[in-house]
Symmetry: C2
Subunit: 206 residues, 2 copies
């Protein structure tokens, strides 16, 4: 199973996937890293791991980014698309063609603090402003609704008094995102995920 990891920044979730691959825990192969921005550290991580990378600046006008993305996914014979801190919205063609083969990690317990406008630090700012004592992360399939696809895995993380958006973000990454994402990729690559009625059934016995 060939995997494409889509990134926009420093790529700590990409690193978690590379580390899992190096420990033979992924049951698939990261075939390419696709970045929506040039010059980000994710591209260096890919280079150091010997993984091909593609830069597809989504803000560049006059180019059909979606066509180029589809082209890259086809070229590498991608069976699973992983959004790992990818800050652009995927086009409908990609979502439709790769239905139930695109997964995303979101830094909250969906349906809390998710949907349009909730990304990056904004998610954690909102959780702290609300005053929740538990937050967490969610890995889910991607459909046409922002953060609306079937939930694959979730993990709760304690919110501590004195947390800032930054400290909460870091704890959720360390305790949840970096564990859930490789685990979800493994389950997918081993054929253990099935989506029924926008819910994910996990069959640990294959």
């Amino acid at each position: 199973m060939n995997i494409a990891v889509l990134v926009s920044g420093s790529g700590t979730n990409l690193q978690a996937l590379i580390d899992a691959q190096n420990k033979n825990e992924l049951s698939g192969r990261i075939a390419c890293v696709i970045s929506s921005k040039p010059g980000v550290y994710s591209l260096e991580r890919a280079r150091l791991a010997g993984i091909d990378s593609v830069v597809l600046p989504t803000r560049k006008s006059g180019e059909d980014v979606e066509a180029k993305l589809l082209e890259a996914l086809g070229k590498y014979d991608i069976g699973l698309v992983v959004l790992a801190g990818f800050l652009s919205i995927l086009g409908e063609q990609v979502i439709s063609k790769y239905r139930n083969r695109i997964i995303n990690v979101h830094p909250s317990l969906i349906p809390s603090f998710c949907g349009k406008g909730f990304y990056g630090l904004k998610v954690h700012e909102s959780a702290l402003q609300y005053g929740v004592k538990v937050s967490g992360a969610t890995v889910h399939f991607v459909n046409e609704i922002p953060d609306g696809g079937a939930i694959i895995l979730q993990k709760a993380v304690e919110v501590k008094q004195g947390d800032t958006p930054e400290t909460l973000q870091r704890r959720i990454m360390e305790e949840a995102e970096w564990k859930l994402l490789p685990e979800a990729v493994r389950l997918f690559c081993e054929g253990k995920l099935r989506v029924v009625d926008n819910k994910t059934i996990i069959t640990e016995e294959n």
Copy 2:
């Protein structure tokens, strides 16, 4: 600190409070149990524990239930009102007079699956229909907005495949509600809860 526990049914959360009191873990005294329904098992639990009880049928027309509730709370010199499966809505006078002295337990991780219309099994039906992998319980102060008051404690509980609303409800009670509620009462009675900007600050050092 005198505590009133308001109930409407069998009273498993009331029992958790009685058990904590018997182990001297409550730092307060359950002075009366107030039921919105006659004949419920909560009243028997109160009797067995030697606790006074009051029945205030909220559906009875022609009676000022709120005045009778205020009268009962005054008579027992109540400092903390605990809603433990109380299926009626408190009146504005009670909420106002006992501001930040009324706590409720809700069987989800607020802000998920809460607010108007979300009570009892409906909460768990909604969580299962959404397909979350983690749910839980929340103890919070009561204000004028349904489930909108400051969150005191939350605890996550795993949703398992094959869960029905009933099995999920039971697991959330056992793993979260019956632990969180006595703990929140203890913190309140020991003066360790402070509400600022609709968020609860817990000071373990008194």
